[in-house]
Symmetry: C2
Subunit: 363 residues, 2 copies
Amino acid sequence: MHAGRPLHSERRGRQSSSSGRYTDEVPKQPRRITLRDIAEETGLSAAAVSYALRGLQVPPETQRRVREVADRLGYQADPIARALASGRTGYVGVLCGSLADVWQQDIAAALGRKFLSVGRHTLIADASNDPELEATLASQLADQRVDALIVLPVDPAAAHWKEVARRTVLTSIGDGLPGAATAAEVVFDNGAGVTDALHRLVDCGHRRIAVMTPSRPTTPDRPAEAIAHQVAQSLGLDVTLHPSPHDLDGATAVARTVLSSANPPTAFLCLADSMAYGVYAGARELGLDVPDDVSVMGFDDHPLSRLLTPPLSSYRWPADLLVDLVVKRTVKAIDEDKLSRRKVLAPAAKPRGSVAPPRTTRR
Amino acid sequence: MHAGRPLHSERRGRQSSSSGRYTDEVPKQPRRITLRDIAEETGLSAAAVSYALRGLQVPPETQRRVREVADRLGYQADPIARALASGRTGYVGVLCGSLADVWQQDIAAALGRKFLSVGRHTLIADASNDPELEATLASQLADQRVDALIVLPVDPAAAHWKEVARRTVLTSIGDGLPGAATAAEVVFDNGAGVTDALHRLVDCGHRRIAVMTPSRPTTPDRPAEAIAHQVAQSLGLDVTLHPSPHDLDGATAVARTVLSSANPPTAFLCLADSMAYGVYAGARELGLDVPDDVSVMGFDDHPLSRLLTPPLSSYRWPADLLVDLVVKRTVKAIDEDKLSRRKVLAPAAKPRGSVAPPRTTRR
DNA sequence: GCGCATCACTGAAGCGCTTAACCCAAGAGA
DNA sequence: TCTCTTGGGTTAAGCGCTTCAGTGATGCGC
């Protein structure tokens, strides 16, 4: 490459006008405008241009001149080269526990929009509820040199988070990552939600309650599950935990199984609305009525949940606030190297028609 | 930088053992393993290692040796440096017309998974149904040096696609991009769907039909809308077009307005299920029954659509096939520079309970 | 036994940018 | 008047990889 086309010397030859090029080949890619082009045009050095464009080393007049030329030439800094030189890519990874979850889809989309508005692109990955895939993806994203990684963890207790936090700015949503040096954590007070939900169900007369959770049996120490157990104990309830995927078919299958078991629960508490949808579908398949035969409560309060018949009782997190906080704190960690304190969001109950007293005739 | 720390010469000094470093500062980032490290370890040149790791210039034994050392050292090629050197980033952009659309969310997620399985990361962007934002994002993604851009266009007729296609491999989903040299197009036969839908509604007795479309008034020449007009003409129908956002609140507002107009339609044909959800909500607000007071048909057949009461009539596209095709053809275009022919997908009607004859009492 | 093609690999240039270090002229302070 | 700054630059190194153009050793045909 160092002979065939004497790149620099050639370019040096004045303007970017179609000078002494092997002209008859049409350049499909119009050749990128580089710093050097602007440097030539303005008579400055490339470094000066680089500084000027970034507003450093502020000689206002020169800055204006450079910017003007840059605009005229349609200059766009090459993010790749910039990343290599500066060590920051401008990318933020978003690792979702399960993108089959409508709520996580919304959050991912909102994060994407918000980060874009501060000049950063997002790389979205989906762990599909699989802790191992999650580990792989996390390390893969870190290898991609993302400036930060936002994670909605499948397994918050996993060992690798510590390592990931060492490699990049790490922010968690939903659950905290104990032991890892996270830059920010915006976590849900799932405990409060679960407690409230179980009490409501109990007050309504339910005793046998199925809890659908995204967790694998290997992570029984997640806050939500642990608290479900505690509350169940203290109230003397018959609570069973059922790991479930977030997609409709998967959740429906779980619900179907649970509902057709020997002594089925009279109520479902789903740790994600997506799973509750599965309960609706499963119940319908079996000819059971919601809420008369089976009550359902969800978590996340996705907009579509209130569209169902009956509208789904759920718990809403302030999604806008959440996204705002996450982006703001993450950016702060990237730019100023400042970590933030953990922020806990409280759930707002949205009781709706999907909960009713259990039919006494049924058992 | 060229004085303080004589990078190369220092590294050259044998092993990567903690040689003569300013030791007492703990290296938080454990220093990346580079090609050079492997080169030293194996006694080869960096170039040789580069070739070996990529399976080029195949001396099987050396290759094994190199790979072994690489594994042991936990080498991971720096994608940024690779991108800068080779000119391909390994990123694929996905530009969605509107991520408020549940179906597009699913497609985006599926594309992400699929591309990941072939070693490429996706940058997802959301045009929020805004043609101008779409143009901005398209060019921004191209600037990011994505190897390819997958687009679910808001405005397929926009002029900038031609330019974008010149800059990167461009694939479109849904609508084709007339005039642009796309690498692949997987388009929907919306015409067939719309025609079929209108006929069904007519057969059912409907004459005043509202069509909800994602388009802005500025793009009246989209296939679907054009055909809606044609069919309406030929059947002598009273068809009105209503641009609508995909999010529930936005679509609900549109539906509410339409439904409370002087001479409301008896049926809605929505070019996306997400919009149909809005009709359900709007109708409910006004105390109207679906389907007795107003019939609704959707497009895309999102899984949740069959969960509604009544289940939404819709048209399904083979999403898996779609994603497969798009990824396969895009990768082919990137790697082998081969363009593919346009592929047209036919819709499969999924008639369900949301369509019924108009109530004759109402007018 | 000699020329020639392979093989296996090396050296160096280059991707387009950032950044540390240096440098010169002009204004300020003494 | 002379030194000290400071503003406004410049130079060059370097990011970690790819890739082109060699280059000695082999292997081979005849």
